[in-house]
């Protein structure tokens, strides 16, 4: 029984994304950021997007392209300190920014991908990040209910994929990618290499293919994926 083939073309798959979509984007800094998928989203120009990503990339790359083209309505993120454009847009009220503690952002995405409604934590108690959140008392301790965080789409960068959508990631390019792949209604993965079925050892698969809807093979990587000159 052959596995389904989910390989597709970049332009076609990004047309699935409508205006107003919520989109999770992989990456922590450059490693794991799906620059080519983002670039196509900028070319197509979908508007009023909610972007969920650990950081907002640095100025002049990745999510910053979407910010500069005015496609982002809201950013759910843990840190935007390396991108002065994002800070300026937030301060001028041109985008809404929701800050989430980094591990809580990861866990809210993870539990969504695990089919759960949320979790209870003491992280943030006594700080501004706990304000307005639902309190839960369990075994005599007070915690905060953190809801699962889902999205319409996930844009993932993988090192290697097979046509069915099994994925592997390289070094610290893993970060949020396997989490967002599980938490979106439609997961689109770009991969540096697409290898034939069976070429990835089943025990080495990091994101199992049933979580992945579409696979796009990248051409030669553009410079933005390379070493950052600061």
């Amino acid at each position: 029984m052959p596995m389904p083939d989910k390989t597709t073309d970049m332009a076609g798959v990004i047309t699935l994304i409508p205006d107003g979509a919520s989109i999770m984007v992989g990456g922590f800094g450059v490693p794991g950021s799906p620059f080519c998928l983002i670039e196509e989203l900028v070319r197509q120009g979908q508007k009023n997007l909610t972007i969920i990503k650990n950081d907002s990339n640095e100025a002049g790359m990745g999510v910053d392209w979407l910010l500069q083209s005015g496609q982002v309505k809201k950013l759910i993120t843990s840190h935007i300190g390396l991108n002065p454009n994002a800070v300026r847009l937030m301060n001028e009220g041109l985008i809404e920014v929701e800050f989430v503690a980094q591990g809580i952002l990861a866990e809210r995405i993870r539990v969504a991908g695990a089919g759960l409604m949320g979790f209870v934590t003491d992280i943030g108690m006594g700080t501004p990040l706990a304000e307005g959140k639902q309190r839960v008392t369990f075994e005599g301790k007070e915690g905060i209910f953190e809801p699962a965080l889902k999205a319409d789409f996930a844009l993932v960068h993988a090192d290697t994929a097979d046509p069915f959508g099994n994925l592997t990631f390289n070094a610290t390019a893993r970060n949020f990618n396997p989490l967002i792949a599980m938490a979106a209604r439609c997961t689109i993965a770009e991969a540096e290499r697409v290898v034939p079925l069976g070429k990835i050892d089943p025990g080495h698969v990091q994101t199992p293919a049933p979580f992945v809807d579409h696979v796009v093979a990248l051409p030669d990587l553009p410079e933005v994926y390379g070493i950052v000159e600061r």
């Binding site: 922590f28 800094g29 450059v30 490693p31 794991g32 650990n54 993120t77 843990s78 840190h79 935007i80 300190g81 390396l82 800070v87 937030m90 920014v97 800050f99 503690a101 980094q102 591990g103 809580i104 952002l105 990861a106 866990e107 995405i109 993870r110 934590t121 003491d122 992280i123 943030g124 108690m125 006594g126 700080t127 501004p128 990040l129 090192d159 390289n170 070094a171 610290t172 390019a173 893993r174 970060n175 949020f176 990618n177 396997p178 989490l179 994926y225 390379g226 070493i227 950052v228 000159e229 600061r230």
Partner: protein, 219 residues
């Protein structure tokens, strides 16, 4: 080695508290520089929240792996025995108490151990990153900071004035003037930088400071 300046001696003093067998996370900025003063032979696991346990030396751009950075974006090498993991696993490690020590920067620290290091309303609000979970859940939390801000105002206060990162979390403060411990009895002066008097430290501290009667070690 040339004579160390006050900042270098502060970093070297903090490095002394990194012990064999520990798993450690060093915050971006000053804390990361502590590694300069840790012996290369000391068996320590350095965690970075972007998904590695086993951070090794920094590498130059011509030798860098584009997929291998620390949480501050510096290109690094892995040590033998290192592992990579996703961001949920990375913070599972932090929240479940596997970090023996974290060293963090600070805008303000209070005598009760409250830490403020992520937001200055109206001036700096770039997001909290991983600081809340590191501060709240590492078994020991050290703060590395200049004793006063650039205007000479104390950064160690009776109560923080800025929004908090975490409450009652800091165990030890390393500054260019002193090492102070935060205990149930309050803030205690433990060590003093060479060339600094107890009176200098007291004057630069915005909280009650207990001065032990025994002579203080210098660093």
């Amino acid at each position: 080695m040339a004579l160390l300046n006050a900042k270098e001696r502060m970093l070297r003093r903090a490095a002394k508290d990194i012990e064999a067998g520990m798993t450690v996370n060093l915050g971006i900025g000053l804390p990361t520089q502590v590694m300069t003063y840790v012996s290369k032979d000391l068996p320590v696991c350095l965690h970075s929240e972007n998904g590695i346990a086993g951070v090794g030396a920094l590498v130059t751009k011509d030798k860098a792996d584009r997929n291998l950075i620390d949480a501050g974006g510096a290109y690094i090498s892995p040590v033998p025995g290192a592992s990579y993991f996703d961001s949920a696993v990375s913070f599972a490690l932090v929240r479940s108490g596997r970090l023996d020590l974290t060293l963090l920067g600070a805008f303000e620290v209070a005598a009760n151990g409250d830490l403020a290091n992520w937001i200055i309303p109206g001036r700096f609000a770039a997001g909290v990153g991983g600081a809340i979970e590191l501060a709240q859940k590492a078994r020991k939390v050290g703060v590395i900071t200049t004793h006063t801000d650039k205007h000479g105002n104390p950064k160690i206060l009776e109560r923080c004035t800025l929004p908090l990162t975490a409450i009652n979390c800091v165990d030890r403060i390393y500054t260019d003037m002193a090492v102070c411990d935060i205990t149930s009895e309050g803030l205690i002066l433990k060590e003093i930088a060479e060339g600094v008097s107890v009176e200098d430290v007291v004057n630069a501290t915005g909280a009650d400071l207990t001065i032990p009667s025994a002579p203080l070690p210098t660093f």
